[in-house]
C-alpha cells in the first residue's frame, strides 16, 4: 500500500456559487513511502490545493485521498493524518506561532499531548537536524527567511511526521535561503528516509527529486523521472513551464549537431557530457563551441 493514494480526486472551490472554481480534476496518483516527489505547475494549476488535500486541510469534492490507508474524509482520523504528514507553507512569517524558536518547535508535540520531557528531547533533536540549535532562544523575527523555514521544518519533525509536504516553501526566499532549504530537504530524504512532496516552480529544485509530477489546470499532465519529464521540453513550455538551464543548453547544443547524450538534467551532468564531447572532438582536431 502506498503512503499517499489519490483516486480520481477533484476539488471545486465555492461549488454552486457564482465564483465556482474547479481547482483539481480527476487526479489519480500514488506516492510510496520514502519517495522524493516534486510537483510542478504554473500559477493556478492546483499545486497548493493538492498539497492541502494531503494534510486533510481541504477535503475532496469527489474522489478519495488516502494517507497510509486513512481516508481524509474520515473525521476521526484527521489528527492521525496530520501527525503523519507535516506541512511547510510559503510564508515563513505566518506559520510560526510562538515568540521563541524552541517554543514554536514544541507547539506540535504539545498539541499531541506528548510528555514534557519527551517534547524537550524531540525539540532538541529536530533543531539539530535542521542546524538551528544555536538559535533556540531567538525570537522568530530576528531570523532570516531561510532560517524561519528551517524552524517550520523542525516543527513538523518534532511531531515525528513520516512525510513532509512543502507548499512552495522557497517562493519567498532569496537564493541563499532556497539553497539552505533544499539542502535540508535532501538530507531529510537521504538520512531520515522521509517521504518528501515538494511543490515548487523552480525547475532547478525539481531536478533534485526522484520523480516529477506536472499539473496543468488541475489535471495530471506528466509523471516521471526528471530525465523523462525534462526530455519533453516542448510540452513543458506549452504548459507555461521552463526546463532547467542545463537541460535547455544541452538540447540546443544537440540541435546544433554536437554529440551529447539525452540524459542531461543537472549542471554536473552537462559539464561531464561536455567534457566527454570535448575529448572526442579534440581527437578530430575541431574545437567545441566556435
Amino acid at each position: 500500500m502506498a503512503l499517499i493514494e489519490l483516486d480520481r480526486l477533484s476539488h471545486v472551490y465555492h461549488a454552486g456559487e457564482e465564483n465556482e472554481h474547479r481547482a483539481l480534476t480527476d487526479v489519480s496518483l500514488s506516492i510510496e513511502a520514502g519517495e522524493f516527489v516534486a510537483v510542478l505547475g504554473s500559477n493556478g494549476s492546483g499545486k497548493s490545493t493538492l498539497a492541502k488535500h494531503l494534510d486533510a486541510l481541504l477535503l475532496p469534492t469527489s474522489g478519495v485521498c488516502r494517507i497510509d490507508g486513512m481516508d481524509t474524509q474520515n473525521v476521526d482520523q484527521v489528527w492521525r493524518i496530520r501527525q503523519k504528514v507535516g506541512m511547510v507553507f510559503q510564508n515563513p512569517d505566518n506559520q510560526l506561532i510562538a515568540a521563541i524558536v524552541e517554543d514554536d518547535v514544541a507547539f506540535g508535540p504539545e498539541n499531541l499531548g506528548v510528555p514534557p520531557k519527551e517534547i524537550r528531547s524531540r525539540v532538541d533533536e529536530a533543531l539539530s537536524v535542521v542546524g538551528m540549535t544555536k538559535f533556540r532562544s531567538f525570537a522568530p523575527h530576528l531570523l532570516s527567511g531561510g532560517q524561519k523555514q528551517r524552524i517550520a521544518i523542525a516543527g513538523a519533525l518534532a511531531m515525528q511526521t513520516e512525510c513532509l509536504v512543502f507548499d512552495e516553501a522557497t517562493a519567498m526566499l532569496d537564493p541563499e535561503g532556497r539553497a539552505e532549504i533544499l539542502a535540508v530537504v535532501r538530507q531529510l530524504h537521504k538520512e531520515q528516509h522521509k517521504t518528501i512532496v515538494y511543490i515548487t516552480h523552480f525547475m532547478e529544485e525539481a531536478a533534485a527529486a526522484d520523480r516529477i509530477i506536472v499539473l496543468d489546470h488541475g489535471k495530471l499532465a506528466m509523471d516521471g523521472t526528471p530525465r523523462e519529464v525534462f526530455a519533453k521540453a516542448d510540452e513543458l513550455q506549452k504548459l507555461g513551464l521552463d526546463v532547467p538551464l542545463s537541460v535547455e543548453l544541452g538540447a540546443r547544443l544537440r540541435a546544433d549537431g554536437i554529440d551529447l547524450p539525452q540524459a542531461i538534467v543537472t549542471e554536473d551532468d552537462l559539464v561531464q557530457a561536455l567534457g566527454a564531447a570535448a575529448g572526442h572532438a579534440g581527437k578530430g582536431g575541431a574545437a567545441l563551441g566556435d
Binding site: 496530520r82 507553507f89 510562538a98 514534557p116
Partner: protein, 271 residues
C-alpha cells in the same frame, strides 16, 4: 523610526525576583496590594515602604527606570495630594484664596500618595522582572483554576502568545507600508493633527488587510500542527515551584498575619 520598540518593560536578569515563579510573584503582589489598601497604621506604611524599596534594590533594575514608572501617574498623585491637603478638617496651616490647607490634610495626603506610589512601584517590579511569555504562562495557570466557571484560560493565553509573537512582525510591516506611502508623497510628520490623522488611514487599511490574511494562514498552519484547543495539551516548559517560592509564600503569610495583628491590637497605631 519603528525599529527600536521593545515589548513590555522586561529587564533580563538573574536576581532573586527574576528567579521566582511568575505565579508566586503575581500572588505576592496581589496580597501586598491588599495590605497597602487595608492597613493604614504608620507602622504598616513603614514596613511596606521598606519592603518595596528592599525589593527594588534586590531586583537590580536601574533605580532611575523604576522611579520613572511613576511618571505617567505623576499628575494624578499631585492632584490627589492637593485635594486632601485642602479638603480635610483640622488645624489650619495656610490659606490660598478661599482654600485652607490643614495639618491633617497634609498628613493624609502624604499617606495616600505613598500608597499610590508603592502600588505603582510594586506592580512595575513584576513586569520589570518577568518576561511577557512567563507572565502569559502564569496567567494561564492562574486562570485555569477558573475554567469551571467558564473562563477560557487557554484561549486567552494563546491569544496573548500570538499577539506577542506578531507585535514585531506587524511593526516591521507598518514601517514598510509607511515607507511605501512616503515614497509616493504621503506626509505623516507635518500639518495639523487632523491632517496627520487622515494620513494614517492609508497605513491602517493595508495593515489590517494583511493582518487578516496572516491570521488566516496562521490558523491553517496551527491546524496542520494538530492544534485543537487546550484539551489534551501538554507543555514543554512546565511551571515548577522551587524552594525560593515557598520562602516567598511563607514570608508573605507572616507579613500579612503580623500586619493584621498590629491592626487589631493597636487600632490607633503606636508610632
Amino acid at each position: 523610526m519603528l525599529n527600536n520598540i521593545t515589548i513590555g518593560q522586561y529587564f533580563p536578569g538573574n536576581s532573586v525576583l527574576h528567579r521566582l515563579d511568575p505565579r508566586t510573584k503575581i500572588a505576592v503582589l496581589f496580597f501586598l496590594i491588599i495590605a497597602i489598601f487595608v492597613f493604614d497604621q504608620p507602622v504598616a506604611y513603614l514596613v511596606l515602604t521598606l519592603l518595596t524599596f528592599g525589593c527594588m534594590v534586590v531586583s537590580r533594575v536601574p533605580m532611575k527606570t523604576q522611579i520613572g514608572s511613576l511618571k505617567p501617574l505623576w499628575w494624578i498623585i499631585l492632584f490627589t495630594f492637593l485635594i486632601h491637603l485642602f479638603s480635610a478638617d483640622g488645624r489650619p496651616l495656610f490659606h490660598i484664596w478661599i482654600l485652607t490647607a490643614t495639618w491633617e490634610g497634609l498628613v493624609r495626603g502624604f499617606f495616600i500618595c505613598l500608597r499610590l506610589a508603592l502600588l505603582l512601584l510594586l506592580s512595575s517590579l513584576l513586569t520589570f522582572t518577568t518576561s511577557p511569555l512567563k507572565l502569559t504562562d502564569a496567567l494561564e495557570a492562574i486562570l485555569s483554576s477558573l475554567k469551571s466557571i467558564g473562563v477560557p484560560a487557554h484561549e486567552l493565553a494563546m491569544m496573548m502568545t500570538i499577539a506577542l509573537r506578531f507585535v514585531p512582525t506587524l511593526i516591521e510591516e507598518t514601517d514598510k507600508i509607511m515607507k511605501a506611502q512616503q515614497s509616493r508623497g504621503a506626509d505623516f510628520l507635518t500639518g495639523s493633527i487632523l491632517h496627520r490623522l487622515k494620513n494614517v488611514v492609508p497605513i491602517l487599511v493595508p495593515l489590517f488587510i494583511s493582518a487578516f490574511r496572516r491570521a488566516d494562514e496562521l490558523a491553517m498552519a496551527m491546524e496542520a500542527r494538530c492544534y485543537r484547543g487546550g484539551i489534551g495539551r501538554t507543555q514543554m516548559k512546565e511551571l515548577r515551584f522551587a524552594p525560593l517560592d515557598y520562602v516567598a509564600w511563607g514570608a508573605t503569610a507572616v507579613l500579612m498575619v503580623a500586619l493584621t495583628a498590629v491592626a487589631i491590637l493597636f487600632p490607633k497605631g503606636f508610632l
